[in-house]
Symmetry: C2
Subunit: 141 residues, 2 copies
């Protein structure tokens, strides 16, 4: 059974469910930063998903990337499956700007997270939802 890694749960705000993945907003308003977590147990690497799930993850990543571009108009997207700290497969999507605090370095491990004001997180998730018709409310813990 799928359960979200406790560290991911602690560091993020749930944004909803896509057909394969849970969508999480990283609770760090330094960067527009969303994470897809396929609801499959015991998967650490993209290649360990079956072919249909891999295709679906790519589809969800593409839709999320397009939403981030449309809303945030970033200079660049950073998309990454790292997992050195949290091994459960999760795919980062970060909108980057030449003016952001870490540019041009990767964002991970740079600076302490700056938590969202609750209303700001809610507003951003609403904007994202408007671009992701397949997103439904969170159903399971």
């Amino acid at each position: 059974m799928f359960t979200l890694d406790p560290r991911l749960q602690q560091d993020t705000i749930p944004a909803g469910e896509l057909p394969l993945s849970r969508l999480l907003l990283m609770n760090d308003c330094s960067y527009p930063w969303l994470i897809l977590v396929p609801r499959r147990p015991d998967i650490r690497e993209i290649f360990q998903l079956d072919e249909a799930d891999r295709g679906q993850l790519l589809h969800e990543s593409t839709r999320l990337s397009q939403a981030l571009y449309a809303i945030c108009r970033p200079d660049k997207l950073n998309i990454a499956a790292l997992g050195n700290v949290v091994a459960q497969l999760h795919l980062h999507h970060v909108a980057r700007y030449r003016t952001d605090p870490a540019w041009p370095a990767p964002i991970w491990g740079r600076a302490p997270a700056v938590p969202y004001a609750p209303e700001a997180a809610k507003a951003f998730i609403l904007q994202i939802s408007a671009h992701l018709p397949e997103l439904s409310p969170l159903t399971s813990p």
Copy 2:
């Protein structure tokens, strides 16, 4: 027309061509580190590829990931499309170990590259090639 970004050309050793992507070995023997560059002009983001090319990139990434797992037996793979320095779409694949110089941080911008001895690079590319039947020798600059 596709031409490889000069910075990628400078920092890597060509390993061959897959149906969509050029395969490059990062010239840094600190980590087993390979890069896929789709041979499509003016593409910066995965979502800008057409759907067939996106599927092919995922296929090539999966095969490369499986090859890295089989050869290197890493603790974790890191797969990332960043591009803050080199905007041309390129997908990093890095075999990570708990004992490597950057663990658990991401590898980018950590320490100066340690170039391969030519024979060691050649031997590693041969190992990778043996796991990638679709890889053919480099055809164009």
